[in-house]
Symmetry: C2
Subunit: 211 residues, 2 copies
């Protein structure tokens, strides 16, 4: 499968590309090519989220699946995290890249939780993610999955998470990446919003729909 | 009719309240009451767009129609112009205030125009208005009208506008206000997005649907 990762230079994106490359042909999409490891199965594609949909569409030809794991870290929420993300959804629809996996944030679709824990400092971020998630799930025909972890930590992966999330929790970046990889391999995740934090359930089991 | 104006202290809101008060019972909604003219037919209601939907809903009881003419002037686009606006739509639905008139910005729903004229400096603003307009028109059951003027000028009203807009143009605030008033009186405007700038057609004629 030809898989595009948008946000290739980020902490999540760079590890995701490394993991995906063992099974897929990976396109590393970013504004910069310097940090991209042009290794076996990985090539770079220029994608600037500030450009218009036509331009972004050109970078997506032949792609089967898209990961959006980019973010402005609060510096350009409207143009990158919100509108930038949505332009890539529109581009994915235009090129027929049906599968779209969006990295979001815990409770982004549930504003009633936005005062809890570390989320209380992230209202602007939550709003940007909220409307990106909402657009993907209501305004597109894409086979989407939205993954909503809490805070990301540079810790060892455990391969075990929890998806029955009742409060925000922390997430090893490796666990988030392994969950993103597992989502692409499991079509039961299509059309679903999956909340997560580190936990005790093996990833492949944790992402299955509740009985 | 009991009409709530959200953004009562703004340049548009204060004039709108004055004009509406000759025909309707007007609720002037804002965070501040000091500048509100508690004249005949006008009373103040505390509305803080940073509060949650439950709290905003409480300020809307008994309201038949809502105008949203508030804006942060670029200072808090995510929380006021985007999410604040949408919370008032949700509150309007909860109290059964079916009629909802949103003051937006020219071409807010057409990103392909966002590089034109003065719009090129307003990308963040356009994004916030875009997703507020999109939410109102796709995610609610409200009887909405979205009015999209270009730049607002403190000039005398002429009572004449143009709604077949092919490029951004300037708008007398009085003309915008008179158009907002005329929209409430004309149910043919329900479910429509009306672009405008100052022009040569009497307002009541200009807002009718094209043949």
């Amino acid at each position: 499968m030809k898989v595009l990762v948008i946000g290739a230079n980020g902490r999540v994106g760079s590890l995701l590309i490394e993991k995906l490359a063992s099974q897929h042909q990976v396109i590393a999409g970013s504004r910069h090519s310097k940090a991209i490891n042009n290794s076996y199965n990985v090539e770079h594609s220029y994608i600037n989220l500030l450009n218009d949909v036509n331009s972004i569409t050109e970078s997506m030809n032949g792609v089967d699946a898209v990961y959006f794991v980019s973010g402005s870290r609060g510096k350009n929420l409207l143009q990158i995290d919100l509108h930038g993300a949505i332009k890539t959804m529109q581009a994915a629809e235009r090129v027929g890249a049906k599968r779209y996996i969006l990295l979001s944030s815990v409770f982004a679709l549930q504003p009633e939780h936005w005062k809890e824990s570390f989320l209380s400092d992230l209202t602007d971020y939550n709003i940007a993610k909220h409307y990106a998630d909402l657009y993907l799930s209501t305004q597109t025909q894409l086979d989407y999955t939205i993954l909503q972890p809490g805070a990301l930590k540079e810790e060892q992966g455990t391969g075990k998470i929890e998806t029955n999330v009742i409060s925000p929790g922390s997430n090893s970046i490796a666990n988030v990446v392994d969950t993103l990889v597992a989502i692409l391999a499991d079509d039961s995740t299509i059309g679903r919003v999956i909340l997560m934090h580190d936990g005790d359930t093996p990833i492949s089991e944790a992402i299955r729909p509740a009985e």
